[in-house]
């Protein structure tokens, strides 16, 4: 029996038959994966037909929360959506904060598993007692907040939380996102496309089963320590003021801010597009996810538009990465992409890649229906994004993702696609952050920093590095030494935060979570006897399981690599000048630590 922490039930909804089923959550099954992302992966591993079409009815779409989601735990605001990715064809998942996860938790379902395909556009209303299948053909083409408000009005409840897709998801753009809480995005790997392919416009949740803790007072006391550590943290003030947008200047200062599609690592106009500029000129207030005291997000007003965000990835993606100098334009794109439901990282990669290829004469406008675009051309960027969202003209093909689109071109153009395993690389040049480079290469959903977030390598804590990873160099961002050990550790903490489910900025970057603390939180939260050693062991198993899923989906060690540019072309100026990544060496060491075969 799962009395504490967990909701203790899973919900299965079949969209083809419009039937649902409530199953008890098996205690020993969930104990071995904790919850959240790790539990979603295990479910996918057990139930997915690996050969299925990711955009077909057979694909399994899983919404998952963890044992401490929506609880007293600070920043326990995340949920993970998992399926086979239509963008990459391998394991796909994406997490988001905001308010959705806490409300989903109150329905008493730890996982909502959606299969089949509806013949008409519909949304699911999930409450304690199950699912209502609500047809909504009139919602077609609606943006995210419009959809959220319509459902709240229709159901007469201002506290319903909604995870919806926009036009991009409806049109099965392979990097379409799911958006909840207005602007909180499950951006990566095209989970919105999976929803769209199932004719599922939204998942609305409203529950009333409270989150119970096994030992409330012990939990409270541990959480009070966490709150104190957060408030006293040296980065607290900066994170409070700027959130992830602090990285614009921070990355530029060390010469790794992707500029003109990773051709440079320093952006000369960074002050015009920085988080600081955003805060002083456009921000009207801080915004927060559920139960967090960092309040790192922001609400802004700019030229006739307003929205929450942007996070660093969108800000960098639509400024320096595509050579745009206008901050208001990036704010416009943030609002637009969030409301259309499209991943800003993949969108900015496809645009940046075309820009570079056209600049180098590798792609002719005739190859793109006459499209000719260069750095910072705002009107053209708008046009391309719009064509992708509605799959119009060349947008129909760009919607398949940069890597797939590039296949028709020569090798010179293909190798300029900044991706790993088909997933477009985030904004952080690995030539100056080698641990991140390794993370992009080995991450089980393709180029991704969040799988390990080895932020430690940026903290310069040499003594701590020797203690934890055996090598001082683990704290040196330019070194390759010690990085396999660092990544193998922090990928476990990353998975732990995703499984509890906590925010990674706090759990990992601010170094709040470790096995000992997680053990006491989980004991007090669930009543299960999770020792630190046991936790480490099951997290390793879970990482191995992700690896196996991808092996089943056709990946091999040769896919654990980085684009040639990062291995061969050094950056030409700034503090990362001259550096390239010897990725093979780090991947070999990483495999050795995991005892994985070739």
């Amino acid at each position: 029996m799962l009395e504490f922490g967990y909701g203790g039930r899973i919900l299965r909804a079949d969209l083809t038959k419009r039937k649902f089923q409530i199953d008890p959550l098996d205690a020993s099954w969930i104990k071995s994966v904790i919850g959240g992302r790790a539990a979603n992966s295990k479910r996918l591993f057990e139930e997915l037909n690996a050969d299925c079409d990711p955009s077909g009815p057979e694909n399994i779409l899983i919404f998952g929360v963890g044992p401490l989601t929506g609880s007293l735990l600070t920043a326990s605001a995340y949920y993970t959506v998992t399926a086979k990715s239509p963008l990459t064809g391998i394991l796909g998942d994406s997490a988001a904060g905001g308010q959705f996860a806490a409300e989903m938790k109150l329905t008493g379902f730890d996982q909502i598993i959606i299969t089949g395909k509806s013949d008409k556009l519909l949304y699911l209303l999930v409450t304690n007692s199950g699912v209502e299948f609500v047809e909504c053909p009139e919602y077609k083409g609606r943006k995210i907040i419009e959809t959220t408000n319509a459902i709240r009005r229709e159901q007469g409840d201002s506290s319903i939380q909604v995870a919806a897709i926009g036009p991009a998801g409806e049109n099965v753009v392979s990097f379409a996102s799911i958006v909840s809480s207005g602007n909180r995005v499950n951006g990566r790997t095209g989970m919105g496309a999976v929803m769209g392919s199932k004719n599922l416009k939204a998942l609305a949740v409203r529950g009333s089963r409270p989150v119970m803790l096994a030992e409330p007072l012990a939990f409270l006391s541990e959480n009070q320590k966490i709150d104190q550590e957060i408030l006293n943290h040296p980065e607290y003030k900066k994170r409070y003021q700027l959130g992830t947008t602090m990285l614009m200047k921070d990355l530029n200062n060390i010469g790794i801010l992707p500029t003109r599609h990773f051709q440079e690592g320093i952006c000369d106009y960074v002050d015009e597009i920085s988080g600081q500029k955003l805060a002083s000129s456009f921000k009207v207030k801080n915004k927060s996810c559920f139960n967090c005291n960092v309040h790192c997000s922001r609400y802004y007003l700019a030229d006739n538009l307003e929205a929450e965000g942007p996070e660093f990835e969108t800000l960098c993606g639509f400024t320096s990465r595509v050579g745009n100098q206008s901050l208001p334009f990036a704010l416009e794109m943030n609002a637009y992409l969030n409301q259309m439901g499209m991943d800003s990282i993949s969108a900015s990669e496809v645009i940046g890649w075309i820009m570079e290829c056209q600049e180098k004469g590798l792609i002719h406008p005739d190859d793109l229906d006459g499209l000719s675009i260069t750095w910072g051309e705002k009107e053209k960027i708008r046009q391309v994004v719009d064509m992708i969202a509605f799959r119009q003209g060349i947008g129909n093909e760009l919607a398949e993702g940069t890597k797939r689109f590039a296949e028709r071109f020569g090798e010179d153009a293909r190798k300029l696609v900044m991706h790993v395993k088909g997933l477009d690389i985030i904004c952080g040049d690995p030539r100056g952050i080698k641990g991140y480079g390794l993370t992009y290469a080995i991450a089980s959903r393709g180029a991704d920093h969040l799988r390990a977030e080895p932020y430690f390598e940026l903290t310069n804590r040499k003594e701590e590095a020797r203690k934890r990873f055996g090598k001082e160099k683990a704290a040196d961002r330019l070194a390759e030494e010690g990085k396999a050990a660092l990544v193998s550790y922090s990928e476990k903490i990353a998975l732990l935060t995703d499984s509890l489910t906590m925010c990674k900025n706090i759990g990992l970057c601010m170094d709040i979570l470790n096995f000992e603390r997680a053990s006491s939180l989980l004991k007090a939260g669930t009543g299960f006897d999770y020792s630190p050693e046991y936790l480490e062991e099951i997290l390793e198993d879970a990482i191995h399981l992700d690896h196996q899923i991808n092996r089943r989906l056709g990946m091999s060690k040769k896919d654990d690599t980085l684009p040639e540019r990062f291995q061969k072309e050094p950056l030409t100026r700034g503090p990362t000048k001259g550096s390239t990544v010897n990725i093979q060496k780090m991947v070999d060491e990483y495999y050795k630590i995991h005892k994985w075969e070739e």
Binding site: Q99, G182, V211, K285, C289, N291, N293
Partner: protein, 172 residues
């Protein structure tokens, strides 16, 4: 009474979590006497809680189960209350609500409100002397046909209007 400064609220719901936890040992917005709403299209977040209005609509209880405490808080007698729902229907802003056989309304935690202590932003303060009490007569007319959740939404949106005007002026 509890005073809310919307301009400082980030929508984190720490107040709501603290309220539910310290009253019941559990977390759920249904168990909280202060309920936070997030109005995504307007950027407004804020808690709705009993404002000790001038009219005190809820006191018109057919069973006389509701009385006022020394701090102006509403006290519900669980032995007299029949859960008829009259108070819930009467409150124009959805600040008193029945859930699972219990009437939830702010009790000011005996004078040291947990929601105030939980707020890191200074968005919620405890005012001992309420002074001139706000009238909800106008709101009452507009929210007549609504349920408590809709009333909270309406009230927050109405409150948010002034804040949004301030933002627009600043960014004009």
């Amino acid at each position: 009474m509890i005073h809310v400064d919307l301009s400082k609220c980030t929508g984190c719901r720490k107040c709501e979590v603290a309220c539910a936890f310290f009253h019941t040992g559990k977390v759920s917005n249904r168990l909280a006497r202060i309920k936070v709403l997030n109005l995504y299209e307007r950027g407004i977040d804020g808690p709705v809680v009993c404002i000790q209005c001038k009219e005190r609509y809820c006191l018109n209880c057919p069973e006389d189960a509701l009385t006022l405490g020394s701090r102006g808080q509403v006290i519900v007698s669980p032995t007299v209350c029949t859960l008829c729902g009259a108070c819930e229907k009467a409150c124009p802003i959805g600040a008193i609500e029945i859930f699972d056989g219990i009437v939830y309304v702010c009790d000011l935690c005996g004078g040291a409100p947990k929601c105030v202590a939980a707020c890191t932003e200074g968005a919620i303060t405890y005012v001992r002397e309420a002074g001139k009490r706000a009238s909800l007569a106008e709101i009452k007319k507009s929210t007549k046909k609504m349920n408590p959740s809709q009333r909270r939404g309406y009230y927050l949106e109405w409150q948010g209007t002034a804040l949004r005007e301030k933002w627009s002026r600043k960014h004009a």
